[in-house]
Symmetry: C2
Subunit: 196 residues, 2 copies
């Protein structure tokens, strides 16, 4: 309704460098360290240029989230279409959680509604895609006496991958190897050891 006049092009190389710098600062020092001055300094430009591409800091965060979401969706699509989709999803989930960016965005989402909405939409879309592609595969597998629905397995993969990333980053290790073994056992029962 009242966005100022000029806004930088979406395909600009400088814009991409600003997003890179934002991710880097967020990883190293947390979202609170992301300021127009700081991002400008990392990129080698002036603060005013940051505001030229992103009117507000929230716009900058949203752009980072959207870019990563697109990349992540493509990678997941590739993972799910391979010969061992569950193992691939597990590796991808651990990697996604491992960067630490996810936790920063979650914390950000706690008090910025636009960001919470964007993250929730991405996460829901991602799980929907997993379910569409993998749901049948799970139902065809005998998982023993457990109440393990396809949905539950996907939630377990997401949960445990995040916990492992978190606890490892804190230097904890009690139970992580055993939990990994349990999850990978499940995955192998569904994917098979080396089918296809």
């Amino acid at each position: 309704m009242s966005k100022p006049r000029r806004v930088g092009n979406e395909t600009s190389a400088t814009r991409a460098r600003l997003l890179d710098a934002t991710e880097q600062v967020m990883l190293a020092e947390g979202y609170a360290a992301v300021t127009s001055r700081r991002v400008a300094k990392e990129t080698g430009v002036t603060p005013a240029l940051v505001h030229y591409y992103f009117s507000t800091i929230d716009d900058l965060f949203l752009a980072v989230i959207r870019r990563r979401g697109e990349q992540s969706a493509k990678r997941q699509e590739r993972a799910l279409s391979g010969p061992q989709p569950f193992h691939a999803l597990w590796e991808l989930s651990k990697e996604r959680a491992g960067t630490g960016l996810l936790m920063e965005f979650v914390a950000l989402a706690n008090h910025r509604k636009v960001i919470a909405a964007e993250i929730a939409e991405q996460a829901a879309d991602s799980r929907k895609a997993q379910l569409d592609t993998l749901g049948d595969l799970i139902e065809r597998t005998d998982l023993g006496p457990d109440d393990l629905s396809p949905e539950a397995i996907l939630v377990l993969i997401a949960s445990v991958s995040r916990t492992i990333a978190l606890e490892e980053s804190l230097g904890m290790d009690v139970g992580l190897a055993q939990t990994t073994a349990f999850i990978e056992g499940l995955l192998t029962r569904i994917d098979g050891t080396d089918e296809r």
Copy 2:
């Protein structure tokens, strides 16, 4: 080595009110909103008084974490000594994760070493206590064909409780009920339905 002269007493009622206000602000607007001015305003005192009790903002955060850690340890001890320790631990874990404070501290820990150290120590102590009290109980239960060690079960409880809290706060719901059913099925096989 160079901390200024005067520091407020640990038993002060005002000090406790400052900690309360800090938690409240952190929950409502995130850790970045915690400033000496803001906490002072919520408490009805001046910013200088905040610095009288806590020389730096990090000291303030640490005090909040320590206070909650002590409360949490006591509650866990009580939960683990009851008739259905696993169900009690599960409920406690969901509640701990549900407040959102945990995620704020985790994000804070990403770039403040003293805070990361405090959180890691608390989490490790907590899991150690769980393992000491509950380890034997799990080993005496037949959990079927799964590679479910005592450690893994505790990690699953921690993981899933956090995920449920997170995803519910984002408005997601795919798979949460099914995953809860799976976890509670495990707990019941260990605790029994209504023993003792």
